[in-house]
């Protein structure tokens, strides 16, 4: 089953056919979403009504294009806002975590490491509801005591950001810690021998070394936040991020404007993914 061991041609071709089928299976749903963004019909389904760009640029109902669909455009803005904050917070905490787990030794380190990993095995819906409950418990408690309602602990964007941050931080920590582990600490010591303080050494030597991982983790967390659905669903208030807005439309049965949004999302993700791959390759 490796190139150096002969196999029957039948097996070889059958195997190759299987792998090709697998990739068709992977590509099919994405391809149809993209192609039907150009279908001149009110429904994202057959029959094919000819090619059109209306689902992007048309400015009136019933064929409202994405660039004129204020509701969807606003939800893209909201998702963007959420993703930027989640990325900044997650990267900040993850960098600190990476230094803690890679550079420090203390009692209970292993226990904390396991605890740090648990968000990965908590289903997103549960993480969402637990934060919803806890936020409300605190807000109710404070309101009963002081009569003051802490609005940001009620469903809404601050809670969405908190919920996403709670699990995306774990992923960022893993990425950054993996890179920091490979760092040769004698470089930092060299900087300090040359007169740098510890903070200066970390800022001028270690952080630049971490840059590819920081960019990679930043891209991953931005995309995970932008595309998150389960946790967001439980914490969302009146401002709907894109995935929630799309979900509502999908349930009602929507025009191919959703295909147009999806295509833009795919292009956006692909660009970000490409940037992160290029950065890793150049600085790796």
């Amino acid at each position: 089953m490796i190139p150096s061991i002969p196999q029957s041609p039948l097996f070889r071709h059958g195997y190759r056919l299987y792998v090709v089928t697998f990739f068709l299976f992977l590509a099919a749903p994405l391809a149809v979403v993209a192609v039907f963004a150009f279908n001149d019909s009110l429904f994202p389904s057959l029959p094919w009504g000819g090619w059109t760009l209306d689902w992007f640029f048309n400015d009136s109902e019933p064929k409202l294009g994405i660039f004129h669909d204020d509701e969807l455009l606003e939800s893209i803005g909201i998702s963007f806002f959420v993703a930027v904050f989640v990325t900044l917070f997650s990267l900040g905490l993850a960098t600190s975590n990476a230094f803690l787990f890679e550079r420090q030794d203390f009692a209970g380190k292993n226990l904390l490491y396991v605890l740090m990993l648990t968000p990965l095995v908590i289903p997103g819906v549960i993480l969402g509801v637990s934060i919803l409950i806890f936020g409300s418990s605190i807000a109710n408690g404070v309101e009963n005591q002081t009569g003051y309602d802490i609005e940001w602990l009620r469903p809404g964007l601050p809670l969405v950001i908190t919920g996403q941050f709670a699990f995306i931080t774990t992923i960022c920590t893993l990425i950054l810690a993996a890179r920091l582990r490979k760092f040769d600490t004698s470089l930092e010591e060299a900087a300090m021998n040359l007169g740098a303080t510890r903070v200066e050494a970390i800022r001028t030597v270690t952080i630049p070394y971490l840059r590819p991982a920081l960019i990679g983790a930043g891209v991953v967390s931005f995309l995970m936040s932008f595309e998150n659905f389960n946790t967001t669903l439980m914490l969302v208030g009146s401002d709907a991020p894109l995935t929630i807005a799309m979900f509502d439309r999908l349930r009602e049965g929507s025009t191919p404007v959703l295909n147009a949004v999806s295509l833009l999302l795919m292009l956006g993700s692909a660009t970000l993914a490409l940037i992160s791959v290029l950065v890793q390759r150049r600085e790796g």
Partner: protein, 287 residues
């Protein structure tokens, strides 16, 4: 550096971590457990009670949905492994150089696209006026449109698709580290393809298999979009029950009990998976 300075550094790094874990992970779940163990006795008045858990066992709809979600998730995990293993082996062991990295990247692409978009793609493919139905008619296999959405098979396809990446990546990573010489040695010692697969390849890939299965099971169990959008009227998923209790019925006590039950089930499966394969949680999750 002096000891007090070291300790200060430690605490500076430790505090944010502890705040995050305690405030956003630990306490919310403890709170959920406490709320699941109480019942409303009057306006703003609560008493300790196991009623929410009893309701789960009393009401067939609840526990049947639970059992259904668990069995479908196990099945989806097994199928994902079966489908992904040959592909991962092909990429890791039969491909070389550029083609290998290219195929690996191609496996990652669907991950970069929102789950919602992927599910939407399956809806376009499988619905009555969709592509698969159209293709079957064109081929003359059926004479009128067929509805392939809103049944368990469609849900299964969607679940496997969504989870595929999380199986393929750990499998490729572990299989890649298997030395060809070990496989050759297996053959030299008189084994056939089957023996080598079971006695050399699979044992070596075990860490990847376990971490893939755990992640896929978790994701499937906690999936909400696929069953809601692709599933039919009676293909209920347990996460839907949780959503209904919290958001539609505003019965947080019952919803919390459901949440705890789902958490117990998933933790148990993770524990059992690690136990059976003798893997450590830290190693499996850090992949």
């Amino acid at each position: 550096m002096s000891r007090p300075a070291l300790r200060l550094g430690l605490w500076l790094l430790l505090t944010p971590l502890l705040l995050w874990l305690v405030l956003l992970i630990l306490l919310p779940h403890v709170d959920m457990l406490l709320i699941s163990l109480r019942q409303r006795t009057g306006p703003g008045q609560y008493a300790f009670s196991l009623g929410n858990y009893l309701a789960f066992f009393d009401e067939p709809l609840y526990w049947r949905t639970f059992v259904r979600t668990a069995t479908m998730s196990v099945l989806a995990t097994a199928l994902t492994l079966l489908i992904a293993f040959p592909v991962s082996y092909y990429i890791a062991k039969l491909m070389r150089g550029r083609a290998k990295s290219l195929l690996f990247l191609m496996c990652l692409i669907p991950f970069w696209v929102s789950e919602l978009v992927r599910t939407y793609g399956w809806m376009i493919l499988l619905r009555e006026s969709g592509l698969v139905s159209g293709l079957l008619q064109w081929l003359g296999l059926v004479d009128r449109p067929v509805e392939m959405l809103y049944n368990d098979v469609a849900v299964m396809v969607g679940l496997i698709y969504t989870a595929m990446l999380f199986m393929v990546v750990p499998l490729i990573t572990t299989l890649d580290s298997l030395d060809d010489a070990q496989i050759e040695a297996g053959y030299d010692l008189g084994g056939n393809g089957w023996n080598v697969l079971w006695e050399v390849v699979v044992p070596h890939a075990m860490p990847g298999i376990v971490s893939g299965c755990i992640v896929v099971f978790m994701l499937t169990l906690g999936n909400y979009l696929t069953p809601v959008l692709i599933g039919g009227k009676d293909s209920l998923w347990f996460t839907e029950q949780i959503f209904t209790q919290f958001i539609t019925r505003f019965n947080w006590e019952q919803g919390s009990a459901f949440g705890i039950l789902l958490l117990v089930l998933s933790s148990f499966m993770v524990w059992a998976g690690l136990r059976l394969s003798r893997q450590s949680f830290t190693r499996v999750m850090s992949r």
